[in-house]
């Protein structure tokens, strides 16, 4: 598939985090986007999981480094390290469980406490395929997203609905912020094209990718 590119062939590297309550489908959104896989019985995520995929935005190749974190409250203190360097986030709730939507506000606060104000955030109502079980109205979520100036989309990792759109939209928005920043400011340390790159872990991460490749030896 043309969309799945070699690991070390990219112009930009963006770190994106997936957050939201336990059981809303974060891991399945990630596996749908990066491997086109879905599992009804996936295990709960403990700590963090990590996957990458590159997509094309305009004429540039953007590599997304996506971090999937544990949803349970207990793990939040630990996961704070995972926010470091993130430039985008998908804040996921489950449209069939209203409590997961109520908790979105807390997640948003935590996200804003840990990341740059320019962070691109998309509110994602997952499990939209379960129409008969819907507990959160689309309008309510849309309203919330408008008030909080985040993007909004409803998805179904199971039916593969909007998953691609949600991720690519976030990545494209980050790209837009970055290219605008490079034009406007020029020396902002958070957003840089490759070579100097954004602070995902460290600058070495990126140059190291170019040098070593993956598991080649």
């Amino acid at each position: 598939m043309g969309a799945y590119r070699a690991d070390d062939d990219y112009d930009y590297l963006f770190k994106v985090v997936l957050i939201g309550d336990s059981g809303v489908g974060k891991s399945n959104l990630l596996s749908r986007f990066t491997r086109n896989e879905f599992s009804l019985e996936s295990k709960s995520t403990i700590g963090v999981e990590f996957a990458t995929r590159s997509i094309r935005v305009d004429d540039k190749i953007v590599k997304a480094q996506i971090w999937d974190t544990a949803g349970q409250e207990r793990y939040r203190a630990i996961t704070s390290a995972y926010y470091r360097g993130a430039v985008g986030a998908l804040l996921v709730y489950d449209v069939t469980r209203h409590v997961t939507f109520e908790n979105v506000e807390r997640w948003l606060k935590e996200l804003r406490d840990h990341t740059d104000a320019n962070n691109v955030i998309m509110l994602v109502g997952n499990k939209a395929d379960l129409r008969h079980l819907r507990a959160v109205a689309t309008e309510d979520a849309k309203g919330f997203a408008e008030r909080e100036s985040t993007f909004f989309m409803e998805t179904s990792a199971l039916e593969s609905m909007n998953v691609e759109n949600a991720f690519t939209e976030v990545l494209a928005q980050i790209y837009r912020v970055v290219s605008r920043k490079v034009l406007d400011v020029g020396d902002d340390s958070t957003y840089f094209p490759k070579g100097q790159t954004i602070n995902v872990g460290s600058r070495d991460d990126v140059s190291a990718v170019k040098k070593a490749g993956c598991c080649s030896s």
Binding site: I46, G47, I78, A208, S217
Partner: protein, 509 residues
Amino acid sequence: MVKKKVPDWLNSALWSSSSTTTSSFSYSDTNRFDHHSSTSVSPPIDPPLPPAATRDEQQHPTRHHHNYHPRKPDIKEDKYSKSSIVNDNISNNNSNNSISNNKIHNRKADNTESSAEDISNQALLLTELSRKVINMGELRRIASQGIPDGAGIRSTVWKLLLGYLPPDRSLWSSELAKKRSQYKRFKEELLMNPSEITRRLEKTMGFDNDDAKSESRCVLSRSKITHGEHPLSLGKSSIWNKFFQDSEIIEQIDRDVKRTHPDMHFFSGDSSFAKSNQEALRNILIVFAKLNPGIRYVQGMNEILAPLFYVFKNDPDEEMEACAEADTFFCFVELLSGFRDLFCQQLDNSVVGIRSTIARLSHLLKEHDEELWRHLEVTTKVNPQFYSFRWITLLLTQEFNFTDSIHIWDTLLSDPEGPQDGILLEQWYQVPPFGYKPRLQYWTTMILKTINIEEETLLRVCCAMLILVRRRLLAGDFTSILKLLQNYPPTNISHLLYVANKLRGQPSH
């Protein structure tokens, strides 16, 4: 920069081949302990002793269902073949009930042909288990070499190692009876529906005078419910309020129990067998959460519970099988009391919490393989938290297939200085010396003593996991390293444990 010299054995060709061994190296009981025998790390195992089966029958009145025939695997015994999920049978790929996980290695079908060592290990364990008073030091020593699958040996040995069964066999039946009835009471008290509690409360308060009357008329005597215990009461102490709080935790437990080993028929699927096993896990986790309000339920506890319950439920002894839930509960508590601080969020940043444990892993790696440590933490800046958090908190249950994890647990649980020889929990509540500084020092010493004895083996295995893939790690960048460590490749477990054991001594400089 002065680099610490890497010990020669780290660069041995053995290590680098390990990541790919599984294809050429079929993991079977026959070669599980090859590495142990070829080195002098562990004391050599004596030649096989005669099977202890007959002697065992006489000396083992409470366990007469057990068939300790070392050479006779469960798979042959029709009596137990219905469950077909006894450890041995994992290798039986044709069995409908056997685990379908294709990650589980295809072990040789004829595992009746165990190696001399395996049999000797089994014979040694059986001899030890047949003693009137079991020598725990000896049991640990033998069990740390691996416990043979089958004949319910592991089920008994784990219960001993976790301190659930006392070393004195004459106490077993009374001890088990006591604990099992205690668990029954916990369940009755803690899993009760609030309306049941209210009803009982009313009874004790003398409201039940005309219960029979109102019941016969099918009228609920609503006025009799006290204000504090009405479902809509806002009182903090209201039973209903508590119930609604609990229900959030219970929903979380339900979600995770359903997601426990979805690839194994034992835990997952629509069979009544799987359903009743899920129910047992659920009960244990709820009872634990309610008895431990400071910890409650932490995601991942289900994964630690699963191996215990699986092993106990597959005990060929019918009584042991029937009481697996109660036994698992207490063993789970024992196990967590060794590792509970890792689950406590308030302790995350303390000396006993998860961060400190991860830091000690990092330190251990630096001590034994500074080059690898430097590459991971300085050059590629891979925060050890990103991979070892799950390794440590879930006691390596997620990194290998189920059978392999169980073999790792044999070693973890039989840590020579294992949990129950450590500092008793009661000691935590003893009055420490007065004054801020002496007090702090006292606690720090206590804490350090505790963690050192309980987690060392686990950390050595984690460190060995890094060392085994060092060549790939050294060639990798941030992304490839993380991907490798978050999806650890299939590995020969006895080899891994051998390397971990090597780290026991002083690092070579």
